[in-house]
């Protein structure tokens, strides 16, 4: 069948194009995030909003204890400050540090080259996409993720997580992942899709603020920002510029080292797209 053979050659062409130097170069958008750790109170609202928006299954105490939880966004709590050493010996005089951690959508994502079936790859929107129904569950990507933000469906969680009529509350814009599939934060790709459809309906380009991720929307202190880095006028690209943090670097040489912006595991050259702003402390 000619269409078949056509696909074969086209497939090869697309493949080699998409993989020259390991990824796209014709990005249409570059969605990125910034999180102000000085404003984050660790209240978990983002995490729960993610559960509600993305059909995340709750797993119960036993499986959670076996570290098989499905939280795409987790708020990590640390009691130490490495750059000033431990706090006072017997009391946490500086309180705790909270760190919302989700998929960083690295431009140099270690998970992408190792997926045997290309179920995870970089889209032209700069997202690190995960195609659930292409995934065969080799879990190589999760092994290769330094931040461990990829969640694998170790069980068929749906029946226990959404007993009727709870399934009526599922978000129809996201498929419910079944067992054996890897899943992770998508920067609320369904909201991105919806916003761009809406923009097309109104015959205009996407503008800053059209896309609001669930965590950003609900964050009570507005610590989370989201936007398109390729759009010079967007808040997020201004923020990145102000913080003098650039993509594609494994080491930022800032003119003003006192700017708070930094990215986690920069030294691994994974080129994460979530900008964290340092926590501020009185001395």
């Amino acid at each position: 069948m000619p269409s078949l053979l056509g696909n074969v050659f086209k497939g090869w062409a697309d493949y080699s194009k998409a993989n020259e130097d390991g990824g796209h170069h014709d990005y249409e958008h570059m969605y990125a995030m910034s999180i102000d750790l000085d404003k984050c109170t660790g209240c978990n609202a983002c995490s729960t909003a993610c559960y509600a928006e993305n059909n995340l299954a709750w797993v119960g105490e036993e499986k959670f204890g076996a570290r098989q939880a499905m939280n795409w966004m987790r708020v990590e709590r640390y009691f130490d400050e490495p750059d000033v050493g431990e706090g006072s010996p017997d009391s946490l005089e500086r309180g705790a540090s909270f760190l919302p951690m989700m998929c960083q959508h690295c431009n140099g994502a270690p998970c992408e080259p190792v997926c045997p079936v290309a179920a995870t790859y970089h889209t032209v929107d700069g997202l690190n996409a995960q195609i659930y129904n292409r995934c065969i569950g080799s879990r190589y990507c999760a092994n290769n993720c330094p931040i461990r933000v990829r969640n694998f469906n170790f069980y068929d969680n749906a029946p226990t997580a959404w007993p009727a009529p709870m399934d009526q509350g599922l978000n129809p814009d996201i498929s419910v992942r079944s067992k054996g599939v890897m899943e992770k934060c998508t920067f609320c790709v369904q909201r991105i899709r919806g916003a761009s459809d809406k923009a097309k309906r109104e015959g205009r380009e996407l503008k800053d603020g059209d896309i609001v991720t669930a965590c950003q929307q609900t964050c009570p202190t507005s610590a989370i920002q989201f936007g398109d880095l390729l759009d010079e006028t967007s808040e997020i690209s201004k923020a990145w510029k102000r913080q003098q943090v650039e993509l594609g670097k494994y080491e930022q040489n800032k003119e003003n080292p006192e700017m708070r912006g930094y990215r986690v595991y920069e030294e691994l050259n994974i080129d994460t797209k979530v900008l964290y702003l340092e926590r501020v402390r009185e001395v």
Partner: protein, 214 residues
């Protein structure tokens, strides 16, 4: 080895390599056959749609007859009476789902038109009771697929200066076949990923997985 050996033609080890090649070919072909069973695509005889600037796969699909609570005939309404698709499936141009027309729309005509037909009386009874018929879905995409009727209509119909709204049936026919010819709705196109991908390639649709997979 001495020189006075007689020469020999037979190279039995060649067989082994031919064998390997054959096995490999069998694997590929077998996988293909399996794939074909997953996505039955019959060679198409469907009429080419009169959609300027659209080139679409000719594959057809011989869907089975799906019983419906009310034997609604597309042939009668769309074909003979020439009612525009978008008159009833009005959501298609505004939403990703085309949707079933609300009963009120049917009653708009059928309070007076053909209200003696048993099927219509069935409908009227439901309308009186305030319940809606439970239609069986005919053209269904899997739950992990994001398909927007709105976007496709915009591309091929609404934003296509060569088309006006009367040509809607030609656009719909690209994926639903010529509904003017069938009675109760049937699936007339495979609607498999291959079907979508082929059309996307021919019409420069997005090739990005996340655009269609959710």
């Amino acid at each position: 080895m001495s020189a006075d050996r007689p020469q020999h033609k037979s190279f039995p080890w060649i067989r082994t390599f031919i064998g390997t090649a054959v096995i490999g070919a069998l694997i590929v072909l077998g996988a293909q056959v399996f794939e074909q069973q997953l996505h039955p695509v019959a060679p198409g005889e469907a009429p080419a749609p009169r959609v300027p600037g659209a080139d679409f796969p000719m594959d057809t699909f011989d869907g089975k007859d799906v019983p419906q609570p009310i034997n609604y005939s597309h042939k009668l309404h769309a074909g003979d009476l020439g009612i525009n698709c978008l008159y009833c499936h009005t959501y298609a141009r505004r939403s990703k789902v085309a949707g079933i027309p609300p009963t009120a729309k049917c009653m708009g005509c059928h309070t007076v038109v053909a209200d003696d037909k048993p099927e219509i009386q069935k409908l009227t009874a439901m309308w009186q009771k305030g319940e809606s018929p439970a239609w069986n879905k005919v053209n269904d995409t899997p739950d992990f697929v994001h398909f927007s009727h709105e976007r496709h209509l915009q591309k091929f119909l609404l934003n296509n200066e060569d088309m006006n709204i009367e040509d809607a049936p030609d656009v719909c026919a690209m994926c639903h076949g010529d509904m003017n010819t069938v009675g109760v709705a049937k699936k007339m196109k495979p609607l498999t990923m291959g079907f979508c991908v082929t059309c996307h390639e021919k019409n420069n649709g997005p090739a990005d997985c996340t655009r269609c997979h959710k």
